[in-house]
């Protein structure tokens, strides 16, 4: 996607180059409509041409144990007990494209992570240095490191399709329309509507997952049991700036100042008090 659309850029002091104002897009995943067919998982592999990794039966319908550099989207199947009943939770796990991306603010490489005006957060692999700080910075544990390329990978919301006016591959393929695509505004009102429908059907705590701690996300969920977010592996209060990283930011400012003062005061000492050679104190006459 064009640099004209870059809204935020990692490790760059100067302003981001974006001057376009494209609409903000969002993907809405209605967990209650998902049947766990994994069509989106396949569509993601196909469109992004990602390596097929061998699967193994570990007692679950889930394809792989975890996301990987080659698996950007994973349907997670979790069996949990909820109010005395076993619930089979199926959740699409992929980058949420946060409005305030923790990955981007943790990244030390200029331009390695960018956010476009439309809300998509993307990794520029030619600038990624492979430090994996984004993995730590992401409150949703999304980016994955590849040992061979020494770079980090994650869902890019099919940025190439979106740029061409298409919906992401997972949206297109979903047979139950559990995944919707549109402007962030439209998706928010659709989510409200879906939450109301769930309430009508007797769900007590359906919610829209669009957490404020990361400024909202561009992949939102309709969660049927909103009082059990942890069971869906969704953090209740994710934050883009955890305390240690905020502290690091403050310390870096102080540090820059202190290092400057250190070098300057050496210079000032040299120019005022000056160097002292032992030989000057003890002329050769001893």
């Amino acid at each position: 996607m064009s640099t004209l659309s870059i809204k935020r850029i990692s490790a760059t002091a100067s302003p981001a180059p974006g001057i376009r104002s494209t609409p903000e897009y969002a993907k809405l995943v209605d967990i209650s409509s998902c049947i766990g067919c994994k069509g989106c998982e396949v569509a993601c592999k196909e469109w992004n041409d990602l390596k097929v990794e061998p699967t193994a039966n570990f007692g679950s319908y889930q394809s792989h144990k975890d996301l990987s550099a080659h698996t950007w989207l994973l349907m997670r199947f979790d069996e949990v007990e909820m109010s005395g009943r076993v619930q089979w939770l199926i959740k699409k796990d992929a980058c949420l494209h946060c409005e305030d991306p923790g990955c981007l603010s943790a990244c030390p490489a200029p331009g390695a992570i960018v956010q476009y005006e439309n809300g998509i957060v993307d990794i520029n692999h030619e600038h990624c240095i492979g430090c994996q700080f984004c993995v730590t910075g992401c409150p949703f544990d999304i980016p994955r490191f590849d040992k061979e390329t020494k770079k980090v990978y994650k869902c890019n919301m099919c940025v190439d399709r979106v740029e061409a006016g298409l919906e992401p591959a997972c949206v297109k393929t979903c047979p139950t329309h559990a995944i919707s695509w549109g402007s962030k505004e439209d998706m928010l009102s659709l989510a409200e509507h879906k939450v109301d429908l769930l309430k009508d059907r007797g769900f007590e705590n359906p919610v829209t997952y669009n957490p404020a701690g990361v400024g909202g996300t561009h992949m939102m969920y309709v969660v049927p049991h909103g009082n059990h977010l942890a069971d869906y592996r969704l953090p209740a209060n994710p934050t883009a700036s955890p305390l240690p990283l905020t502290g690091l930011g403050v310390l870096k400012r102080i540090g820059a100042y202190l290092l400057g003062v250190g070098v300057l005061s050496s210079l000032v000492h040299y120019l005022t008090i000056g160097p002292q050679a032992a030989e000057d104190l003890h002329p050769h006459d001893h």
Partner: protein
């Protein structure tokens, strides 16, 4: 023992000098690339080690060189660097020392109180840098062992930076004192020799082995 001020005394042997420069060079490289990873405006310093990705790949290996040479430094100087009453006495006159009011400074042995504190500070910082650096080198291993790895690793970034900052500030002072403020000091770490006058001024209570002293030839004078 000669009292000839220009006479040369052996201060550091070859092994000590090699170990010291392994520490000095590796730390400097780590410090500069570390600054590059911390400050976007200094990212160009990664070019010292071949650009961003290469610098990121090499930084931990240089860290390993630093840690090993710090361990060697520790074992070679540990005993000589323990502080005693004379050192605390000396430290109280540090202001006079900085202003070259030599008469007000109590005598120091081979190393003065400031140097000894510097040694211990760098030793502690070296350990902190190694531990936090290993965690950042192998985040996946940490994540496999610790449940809240993100918070821990973010804290390790904070700790690694704080130790770097402290070490960098100390280094600025160390380099300034060794290379600029007191001419004649650097030579001790280059060919291992210092003049008798230098030793009397900085370390008057130091008694080098008698065979360390000799009257210099002309080309030894600097």
């Amino acid at each position: 023992m000669t009292t000839e001020p220009a006479a040369l005394i052996h201060r550091f042997n070859a092994a000590q000098r090699l170990i010291h420069w392994a520490v000095g060079i590796s730390f400097t490289v780590l410090f500069l690339t570390g600054l590059a990873f911390s400050y976007p405006s200094l990212f160009w310093l990664t070019n010292l080690l071949g650009g961003g990705p290469t610098a990121r790949a090499l930084h931990p290996w240089v860290g390993l060189v630093f840690s090993i040479s710090m361990a060697a430094t520790f074992s070679m100087w540990m005993r000589e660097m323990s502080l005693d009453a004379t050192d605390w006495h000396w430290l109280r006159a540090i202001r006079a020392y900085a202003q070259h009011q030599t008469a007000d400074v109590p005598p120091a042995g081979k190393y003065n109180g400031g140097q000894k504190l510097f040694f211990w500070a760098q030793t502690v910082l070296g350990v902190v840098l190694l531990i936090s650096g290993l965690a950042l080198w192998f985040p996946n291993t940490v994540a496999n062992v610790v449940p809240t790895a993100s918070t821990l690793l973010a804290s390790m970034r904070l700790v690694h930076y704080a130790a770097t900052l402290a070490g960098g500030l100390l280094l600025t002072m160390h380099v300034y004192l060794g290379l600029f403020a007191f001419p004649g000091t650097a030579r001790g770490m280059i060919d291992g020799k210092v003049t008798r006058a230098w030793a009397t001024m900085h370390h008057s209570a130091w008694e080098p082995a008698t065979d360390a002293t000799r009257v210099p030839k002309d080309d030894d004078r600097r």
